[in-house]
Subunit: 353 residues, 2 copies
């Protein structure tokens, strides 16, 4: 080892899903939206003036912040924007979790949470979900340095009703509580409604799933002005200009087209509900996912085997190793045609086993 290597920060990085290339493949592994972004986004992209790129973007991304504030009925001071919800969540770890006490999050959840904790030296404890993968609010009653969970949860898709989210907030009035709503647009009620009553609540969202803009990296958080200001101070201590000009402009256009948003989200949720029936009909056990993916295991065929045979068919799904989840596959909801191809293959494969 070279001397300077002794001072490297030691981390175990998150491993994102593969990004295989090719026109033929069916990509159901990273919870992308199968439909393109709103037509207004495409128009705004065509209208972008390259010569404007010579200047720094607005560090406050005011145009986007104002659009999001208007959309959610909040003040601009209640909105924080970042380079995808990962940037927003990472910034939240750095900003809020400095008590030295363990932060709590579920044992089965977004696998980035322990990675951020390790990166920034935040102690944490995982809280087991119950046997049906549900969060039990009473488990979050113990002393902690903050609480964090996705709703719907990933990779299970399980939704926690708003009363139970509020139960967690009632038990945790002295620390920041973060609800990661990456998938909320596909089902359930947002904790946005609780913001007026809980000044320690931060609700995090992304444009990557329901708004078909994974390629633009746009995420945001909603919360009391004190929380948002604290995040902004940390952000301005890291990188003043994180949102580039195209992200700001295209994000604004996406927010404007509510009809397209509802239509595409509606198509995805309808496909999801049909897919649940199809999976069950083929002998799969399936959580009642409220997200844009399904979390399934077959009664007889191991998940790893299915993952591999699907891959040979150029159908990419996600398989997580690790306790409690290694029997399952996470399958993004694609188009009706993509799902039909998936079920055609699975039907013939599992019947032959």
């Amino acid at each position: 080892m070279k001397p300077w290597e002794a001072y490297y920060r030691s981390v175990t990085p998150y491993v994102p899903g593969e990004q295989p290339q090719g026109a033929r493949l069916i990509k159901l592994n990273t919870n992308e939206n199968p439909y393109p972004p709103a037509p207004g986004v495409a128009r705004a992209l065509k209208e972008l003036d390259a010569s404007a790129l010579r200047k720094y973007p607005d560090p406050a991304a005011s145009e986007l912040t104002a659009a999001l504030a208007g959309y959610h009925g909040l003040a601009p001071e209640q909105i924080f924007v970042g380079v995808g919800s990962d940037d927003v969540l990472g910034m939240a770890f750095l900003t809020f979790f400095n008590s030295g006490k363990p932060v709590l999050f579920p044992d089965v959840t977004y696998s980035f949470y322990p990675v951020w904790a390790e990166l920034f030296g935040v102690p944490y404890e995982t809280v087991p979900l119950d046997e049906s993968f549900q969060i039990r609010p009473e488990d979050y009653a113990r002393e902690n340095g903050g609480v964090l969970f996705p709703n719907p949860n990933a990779p299970t898709g399980c939704y926690l009703p708003l009363e139970q989210v509020e139960a967690i907030l009632r038990l945790n009035r002295d620390v920041a509580v973060i609800v990661d709503e990456a998938y909320i647009d596909f089902g359930g009620t947002s904790a946005r409604e609780l913001l007026d009553r809980y000044e320690n609540l931060l609700v995090v969202r992304t444009f990557s799933k329901s708004r078909s803009l994974a390629g633009m990296r746009i995420g945001y958080a909603m919360g009391a002005p004190s929380l948002i200001r604290a995040m902004q101070n940390v952000k301005y201590s890291y990188n003043s200009y994180t949102m580039d000009l195209p992200s700001i402009r295209l994000g604004v256009e996406s927010i404007k087209d509510e009809a397209y948003f509802r239509e595409t989200v509606g198509r995805i949720t309808a496909t999801r509900e049909r897919a649940k029936e199809r999976f069950r009909g083929l002998g799969f056990v399936c959580t009642d996912s409220m997200a844009n993916f399904l979390f399934v295991r077959h009664e007889k065929v191991p998940a790893e085997e299915l993952f591999e045979v699907l891959r040979e068919q150029q159908i990419y799904v996600r398989h997580f190793r690790g306790p409690r989840v290694s029997d399952y596959l996470r399958v993004t909801v694609g188009t009706e045609e993509e799902m039909e191809a998936l079920f055609q293959f699975l039907g013939s494969y599992v019947s032959r086993r």
Copy 2:
């Protein structure tokens, strides 16, 4: 104070230069390029397909990494890309400066360095420049946890010849040494040449100045594969997908057009040299800046006064408070026309004082 506010990370954020809007104003305050990006960048922007944005970008930004590797005659494993050089430098602080010993950088330098140090809890000591704002390599002989300096330096514009950069490296073989070359394209020899011999050297660059792409947020680092891998591990522990699709594509196009790059950089350096003469002719003291800005003070008129009267004329320059620099203005090199307007006003103003 609310209970959770006790756990906020305490920081003193960097304050970026103003981003005033308006067609009339002359903006010489944030070191932007007065010329648009290369024609190929504008074409690539027009050709971007909005429907491709529904997918996550390549987390490795391989296309851009390969283009940069080819441009600099390095292997792709020697290139790290990020959301502007601030992202790259912030990530470098987090990755390399974990020895507990103080990191060294100049007393007069990019004001973000102490901000990152505070944010990530990195101890530091500043090393005074000499009376003509020059770095003295021998001052970097003391024990430290890493060394960092811009070349040319900011906001002075002073360039440190390559032999002296190497002298600093010879004195610091056991820690990471970072040369921040945001402005090197406007003059001087890059430390790129030293990479073969110093495996602890990281050279950081940006597309925001010489490539007219401040609005896209593209920065990168060059170094030995071990350094780059360590940064990537940290990056993948923070946010897997930082470079959005347009940044990757437009970055690649910028690299392709060497002729345009040389032409615009040549125009800026010619304007800079003429501006030095004009400033001196008006009674200003002026460093021999090798960057795309000038660092000037008038023999009689205080900097703060000049800053304010220029602002009233809608001419924005930068004035830094703080020891050693508060007598100076930093003036970005604009177009010939913008500089002419500046000098017309200054000529008449200082003659009346």
